[in-house]
Symmetry: C5
């Protein structure tokens, strides 16, 4: 049995976990998904830690960051924390972050969030199922999550 963790927040204005979970359930049906919801992004690393301690093979986290400078510092602190957690455990914690100032239009933000959550869930599944060379065919291909892929800078 494989366990996959999903961490999200009540601060987020979109239920991003829903989209990530749909992908994981479809692509990795044998997985048990354990969800952990916290207030905000600074609480995400400890939730991921708890899920890894419960035996999760990997975790996807879904964070929503405000537009002020202090929000960006909080994002930086969370990012350092998630990276340190991964270094200490050797497990992937794929971070899906949406910045509220990425778009003014709610529909656009929703599209970014949904797309980013789904694509990173696919990334997570591939890494868990096939390991470190699963994405190598896309190395340098300018893939984007939340936006259309931009492609490699110079073809062929």
């Amino acid at each position: 049995m494989i366990k996959i963790g999903v961490v999200d927040t009540t601060f987020s204005r979109i239920d991003m976990a829903k989209y990530a979970i749909e992908v994981i359930e479809q692509e990795l049906p044998e997985a048990v998904i354990i969800r952990y919801t916290v207030p905000g992004i600074k609480d995400i690393p400890v939730a991921a830690k708890k899920l890894l301690d419960e035996g999760c093979e990997a975790v996807i986290t879904l964070g929503w960051v405000g537009g002020k400078q202090v929000d960006k510092y909080s994002y930086l602190a969370m990012s350092i924390g998630l990276i340190m957690l991964q270094i200490l455990t050797g497990k992937h914690v794929i971070d899906v972050t949406v910045h509220e100032d990425e778009a003014d239009d709610p529909e656009k933000l929703l599209e970014i969030a949904r797309n980013r959550a789904r694509k990173h869930a696919y990334n997570l599944v591939k890494l868990v199922k096939y390991g470190g060379t699963a994405l190598t065919q896309y190395a340098g291909k300018g893939l984007r999550q939340g936006y259309p892929d931009v492609g490699p800078l110079i073809e062929g």
Copy 2:
């Protein structure tokens, strides 16, 4: 017996711990609350560490940050520290921070501080009592602490 830690500062201009403690005493009456007061935000992580070492199940910290750039760097350092502490211990340290430049009006700042302290105390109690799915019903719901909830970006 469950122990809950409360860390606050003498730098703060509002006794935020009072509001947090009221909520914890009401919602988790069986808990023993251990309080630790430090000078300023950079002293908060070690106080939280000491309370966790004394057996606290979780800690809520109440910090007050000045409006200058160096204050924001101190906030960043504290945030990294609290996140690292949580990663190392696997325990929640819910951080309530009020930035002095969030409002000019003292009454407004008081309202922010009181509301944020109370709501995060509720968050803490729910996580301690019911675990990582206690807040899942609110995932993506745009909850805010210190301000009214903004709600999900797009209903339904």
Copy 3:
């Protein structure tokens, strides 16, 4: 026997340790003070670490930060280091930092430095002697080090 560490720098333009030591000697006469002087603020964390390894119960550090942006980054790095040290050891390291751009007037800077060093030395002594509730009577009272206390935001 209780040991208290004092770390200061040759970069500083004021002998702040002198004021801190005066307070510690007066308020905690049974303490043995161990001093460690380093070149600049980035050397402070390891000096504090060495003093804790020698058995100090707590350490007070006295740093002086220049006015340039890279000096502020050095301040941030030092702050993260001191917080991590405290998390790893569970001991207080009270940080007294004076930023050279806090005032233009040398007399004013001296006043800030002296006041901050003394007040934080008092804080250290209280925490060491009486523990985490020693300062609770001042929680939320708007105490300042280096400047007059600003008091609580709203009285009563």
Copy 4:
């Protein structure tokens, strides 16, 4: 048998690993190269950690950073993570980062990326083969990766 790790991303718009691998294969033909491709730069540290755990003697990482401020914070978080990983393992993780805003012209960016990846692969090989004095003949010589060497500031 010596193992060398290569970490790259699907976010990158240039397949930088190709250039690094060419150099490693040519200069260190006895090495087994283990590649690990991740979505973006914040996933690089854990991939490097996994490769070190698999017995790699050293790792080269190839990251691509966007032009927005939050991208730079992600770069900072990754850099701190890679440095901490190296401190914890005592192994070199040579970081090749290209910032998308280094040039407007795609050809120029390609030139930067290719040059930087190759030169740092040479650096890695030299450090692995000959140790810490392998590059000492170039100390202070103003070598650059991604650009022509600038040379020492003052000759002779």
Copy 5:
């Protein structure tokens, strides 16, 4: 036998290690100096770690930082890494950093670099030979490395 580590970079445009080594050889003739040259500042912490693992009592590092904002973030990451390394080992790693934008004039930069490397090498030797009180006579004296000492703010 005492071992002292010296870490420098090929990115630097001045051979700063030369000046540091001259001082160490003169002031601590019984020391064995172990040098480690890396490409750039982000490689410095692991080199210092390796030298400490080889038994060095202390390390001096000589870094050169470019003038762009991302270079400053790299400086911040390196500084955090060096401080964490010192906390984990309890050994001094004296950091000599020259920022390329400290001066426009090459001669001036050379003067800064040479002076800073020499003075910090003296600091290192004093700390290693005489311990934490070796520099106490200069505490608060406004010493500078790279520039003339500025002296205490207010005499007497």
